[in-house]
Symmetry: none
Amino acid sequence: MKLLLIEDDIDITNNLKLLLKENNYEFDNAYNITEGINKLSNNYDLIILDISLPDGNGFSFYKNHLLAKNIPVVFLTAKDDEDDIVNGLELGAEDYITKPFSSKELLARIKRILLKKEKNKIIEIEDIKFDLEKMKVTKNNKEVKLTSLELKILYLFFTNLNKVITRESIIENIWNWTGNDVNDNTVTVYLKRIREKLGDNIIITVKGIGYRVDYEK
Amino acid sequence: MKLLLIEDDIDITNNLKLLLKENNYEFDNAYNITEGINKLSNNYDLIILDISLPDGNGFSFYKNHLLAKNIPVVFLTAKDDEDDIVNGLELGAEDYITKPFSSKELLARIKRILLKKEKNKIIEIEDIKFDLEKMKVTKNNKEVKLTSLELKILYLFFTNLNKVITRESIIENIWNWTGNDVNDNTVTVYLKRIREKLGDNIIITVKGIGYRVDYEK
DNA sequence: TCTTTTTTGTCATTTAGATGTCACATATGT
DNA sequence: ACATATGTGACATCTAAATGACAAAAAAGA
């Protein structure tokens, strides 16, 4: 698990670095927002974010860069102003901790968040298992060879379980960013191919709307 | 959203009751574990749980009765012993707050938890359940197969509960954007078909005006 | 390089089921 | 009772999705 701390206080940074490395997390840090933005491409599992930073405000950084990416965030700040806490949590932060904080508590709160992610790394539906990290799919524990597009489409479903996904949305996610548009029926054909490999029942057709993969936990 | 507070302190109970009712949550409380167990059948959306209770320990109550049910829990306790916090969070609690606490913060933390639940919103009216994300309807927990237009019309009602929807408004929402106009009676026929599948009582006719689906929360 | 295999995107066709309208029946308010 | 609004069953037509087959493009092997 890779964590990023964005915080300008050197003492706090060093303490957390020690604490988190001790607990087998990969740790990285940034002293300001600009530096933080540059590091974002490293796909962190969680970001600990100070609110008042030398070159800007943690809240707006969160809104502009993290919210859409779906990266869990813990705000960490000296401002124990109630409204700030409310603000942070309402924005969608996973947790909010005020300085001075207990290392043990911070650690416990981080663990709580990461535990959920951990659980989702391999999703199991009926006889199908999808390992999201390895990007590997098995049926009855036997690897299923999916082509790269089939895999991407299936990934879309497995990261949006229980949600209807429209044909348009699939096109947008899989093809659009490439520029060249694709026939509407193409999606249908891909769904058919995936079903051939995984069985007919895993992807549910919602007529007139789209498709869906259900996950009953 | 229905909350249950299990706490033996009467002052705290009254304060929270006020706070939460003010914020449109259904509130219920128990003064001890035995009482709490008896109330569990009410299917609460979240439980706020004190740790030291007159007839037992909150942690073991959580382990024995709540963990399997998957009800989110916020521990609320005077013991701000670090180890307790770690303990609580590691058990799987959604959050942990120590007394004395700020009402605003508690509220924000509760909201964070419930917001996630909200996302897979399922509206339940009598024996009918409509899962808005899955776009799936059940009656007595058995899936009802609706056609795409039937589903869209029903969706319109379920996202406009307690409001009369005129025939024109239905046509506008379901057909108009397609360009080709549709006979007035068509709506009636669709309503009839939906009623055939879901029962006559769910969609109420408001003579001379339109139709309505009622939701008493 | 050239050859072979796999992937990709598009057709045309099939199919089950959805759709829209009619003519008539029934219910409701005054 | 009357007028009007709403409900109903039957019907012809239409459509979304599934499918099998194919050529172009890309990737893998030789």
